[in-house]
Symmetry: C2
Subunit: 186 residues, 2 copies
DNA sequence: TCCTTATGTAAACACTCGTTTACTTACGTC
DNA sequence: GACGTAAGTAAACGAGTGTTTACATAAGGA
């Protein structure tokens, strides 16, 4: 006989996780303002009121979703001798993962969500990067990294030019790689 | 006797201009979504219904306000031998003018406003820059310019770090200048 | 088996916002 | 000076939103 693990039809932890997962998808796709609580809970298959009960409201849900999507190790676990090539590959090629960048850019319209974004970006990305870079100009290095990264994603996300859709143009990609490599080499 | 120019208390052109000016201020300050029609018309001192009558709605008003704020000559009228220093000075130091960048970033949350932003950015900035750069890699140069510019403004606007508030840190500024200069020199 | 509690749902609430409609008023013209 | 039209206003409309409240029900121990 096949033993199936009996799952209770009501599980708060699982419901909470389903809402958080759906929130990452919808927030990244529609942005904070246009993403409705009803959209998120419909994707999760639960009732809209559970957002308030489990997360304390839409804004807190956004904070939890963005926090879960941010992982500084995606950058700081790369070898510094090949940092440029590898970080560009990670930024430009991986589409399977929910990127936190669209979520961030499209939350810029809401002042409260923008404040949360700024805080998480500083604590979860900027500070770890600064420590990882090290040295007396670590802060400037981290700033340069943020500028190039934000510029790349803003360009891709907000300026959908036909000639730059799809894969990144080779010489542009080479320039980006050298930019990132120069940050760790300086 | 002092001759005062008699102004009629009702002037459609003046009212239209007042709404457009107020819209630039409010949109840049609050973003598209959080900027209410009532906020804009209150600043202009007119009735909210005039937005629909004179501009055809809030979205069309945003398009007109952004279009009026975009001026490619602010970049293409600079001498190429000192382009880096001068463009950074223009970006970092001028606070008196209504910058279109906050307007653009804080409209990213609304899908329709984002589409308008993308189109205007391409037609009014990217294309003129590409022509101005010239040569066979003009498109890549224009793309690099957009990335560095967007990165700088996104960093300043969305990541209000205490250590980088106020004037740009000198070595960071020098790096930005060399980045822009390299685009025209390559 | 009963009963308490956690889990989930449905519906209404309260509020905001862009827009439209009906009305008022000042200006230019005959 | 009366009148028609353009300019402006006030108020309500209608749709959408996050959240709360009241109620239903499955789970698990006594």
């Amino acid at each position: 006989m096949t033993t199936t693990i009996e799952q209770p039809s009501r599980d708060a932890d699982r419901t909470r996780a389903a809402i958080l997962f759906a929130a990452q998808q919808i927030f990244a796709e529609k942005g904070f303002a246009e993403a409705g609580v009803r959209d998120i809970t419909a994707l999760a298959g639960v009732n809209p009121s559970l957002v308030s009960r489990y997360f304390g409201g839409k804004l807190k849900l956004f904070e939890a979703a963005l926090d879960a999507a941010l992982d500084p190790r995606l950058m700081t676990n790369l070898p510094k001798e090949n940092f440029g090539k590898l970080i560009v590959a990670r930024f430009a090629d991986e589409d399977d993962r929910v990127s936190p960048l669209p979520m961030m850019f499209r939350a810029a319209g809401d002042s409260e969500a923008r404040a949360i974004t700024a805080r998480l970006l500083r604590d979860r990305v900027f500070e770890p990067l600064q420590i990882w870079f090290g040295g007396d100009i670590a802060a400037v290095k981290a700033a340069r990294f943020m500028m190039v990264s934000l510029g790349f994603f803003a360009y891709r996300d907000q300026l959908p030019l036909a000639e730059f859709a799809g894969p990144v143009e080779p010489s542009l990609r080479a320039w980006l790689e050298s930019e990132f490599q120069a940050i760790v080499d300086d």
